[in-house]
Symmetry: C2
Subunit: 143 residues, 2 copies
């Protein structure tokens, strides 16, 4: 089902890195958070429990595959995972590598900023490598 | 493994509603968010991908069982799920029923408040019923 007014039914929601029938994995262009990835359900469902159990497990499998690749490539101080969707109620997971020196740490990325972040060039390079590594980690799919 | 300095190794982290060997389910006393539940890993692991796949699936099974019960009982406008742990790096999931009139909607609960929330008495009552319903929904376990 596709909903005409839904942003995630009508746009990719980031730079497409991988997709299968169930979901797509996109990189989010956020200057404060290189390596920020979203895993977005293909069909329009509001909540995880609107998916079948098999779909839910497969979607979480993709989220955790992204987490594993992100930890290896980016070596964050902490992983953050969240499915919120208050503004865009179409299931999508935020998968965010967090660092002690990032803009909001130890707050969530949605909290008041703690500092102006200066992103090390190496972190941007690691994010680039993550984007390149993800398709192989996620297995067959397009692209 | 238990870590002496870890808040979630040393305290329940809320009112205990259910537990098994893998995890416990607690209600969070937050006046703005009746029905706020946390699912907390028993052993000290920083990230979901530090668990085995079987543990991860079982833990998410508990999270989604809580979500299902919460949707039925509380009928929220949106479910929010998050595993952050920047301040307490011991795996725990926030499972939060969100309502259009709550303190931060449509922002995450960690964002700047949008309003002073007035919690309907019925919502508090539904949260009470959720806490009572969860043990049966989660199956065998203590208490």
């Amino acid at each position: 089902m596709s909903v005409p007014t839904c942003e995630l039914c009508n746009a990719t929601g980031g730079t497409l890195l991988w997709q299968n029938d169930l979901c797509r994995v996109v990189s989010v262009e956020d200057g404060d958070y290189p390596g920020f990835i979203r895993v977005i359900a293909t069909r329009h469902v509001r909540e995880m429990t609107d998916l079948t159990e098999a779909e839910r497990n497969a979607l979480m499998g993709a989220v955790f595959a992204v987490e594993a690749a992100m930890r290896e490539t980016m070596q964050p101080d902490k992983m953050n995972l969240a499915s919120l969707g208050n503004m865009t109620p179409h299931v999508h997971w935020h998968v965010i590598p967090r660092f002690r020196d990032d803009r909001h740490f130890p707050g969530p990325v949605w909290s008041e900023p703690k500092r102006e972040a200066v992103i090390p060039a190496e972190r941007v390079e690691r994010a680039r490598r993550l984007a390149l590594a993800l398709p192989a980690r996620l297995g067959t799919g397009r692209p």
